[in-house]
């Protein structure tokens, strides 16, 4: 359980830092872009580029927050509990959703990227899909483990 607690604290730190960074991004990039209607000739999405990137970031932070909640319930109620299962399943879906949105974004702004950046971004997006599927599998493990635990507890 020590490692789980360490992971929880690390996630809390990462989530807080990312939330602060999102706030900074909104204040210094998104709002000025939209308010002043800045023109970016080099970007396909123009002044909406930062807004879309921030929205994607918000999506992954929500997913990360769900993982944090799932781990919190593991610490509180033990490994096999229904609440953790629900949170991890939701986090997995959010991660997959983020990755799909990211791939769509990459395809739309393909011309903005150099070839190596394009490949790197696509690989990262696919890895996030794998992480999302991994979370769904983990949620299934928790579910099956919960059934086994219940049967074990009710064996007299």
């Amino acid at each position: 359980m020590k490692k789980v607690k360490l992971l929880y604290r690390l996630l809390v730190f990462i989530n807080i830092m990312t939330t602060i960074l999102i706030g900074v991004q909104i204040v210094f990039l998104v709002i000025p872009d939209l308010y002043h209607s800045k023109i970016y000739d080099e970007n396909v999405l123009g002044s909406f580029n930062n807004l879309i990137l921030t929205a994607l970031l918000v999506l992954i932070v929500i997913g990360s927050f769900k993982i944090q909640q799932g781990i919190k319930y593991i610490i509180k109620d033990g490994f096999f509990n229904h609440k953790s299962e629900v949170k991890f399943k939701l986090a997995g879906k959010i991660f997959i959703g983020f990755a799909i949105c990211r791939i769509v974004y990459i395809i739309i702004v393909m011309s903005d990227f150099k070839l190596n950046e394009l490949i790197n971004n696509l690989i990262l997006a696919f890895i996030v899909i794998l992480v999302g599927i991994g979370l769904l599998v983990f949620a299934d493990f928790i579910k099956n483990g919960g059934v086994l635990k219940e049967e074990n507890d009710l064996t007299i």
Partner: protein
């Protein structure tokens, strides 16, 4: 569930309290209560053996199959 646990009947026949049976068998009263209420998912052979020994009866006296 189609398996009925008639432990209450046997306890009444032997005029034994649940608490005493739990003590003899070596299980908690909470677990014995789960068994009596039919909420148990499984019964170990060792537990069944201990119950039968304590109540001087057969497994069929405790467990009964009833079609749903």
């Amino acid at each position: 569930m189609s398996i009925i646990v008639n432990l209450d009947v046997m306890l009444a026949k032997r005029k034994m309290k649940s608490k005493d049976l739990a003590e003899i068998v070596g299980i908690t009263t909470a677990n014995l209560s789960i068994l009596k209420s039919g909420k148990a998912k499984a019964v170990r052979f060792s537990t069944l053996e201990a119950i039968c020994k304590a109540l001087d009866c057969q497994p069929s006296d405790i467990l009964e199959y009833v079609e749903d």
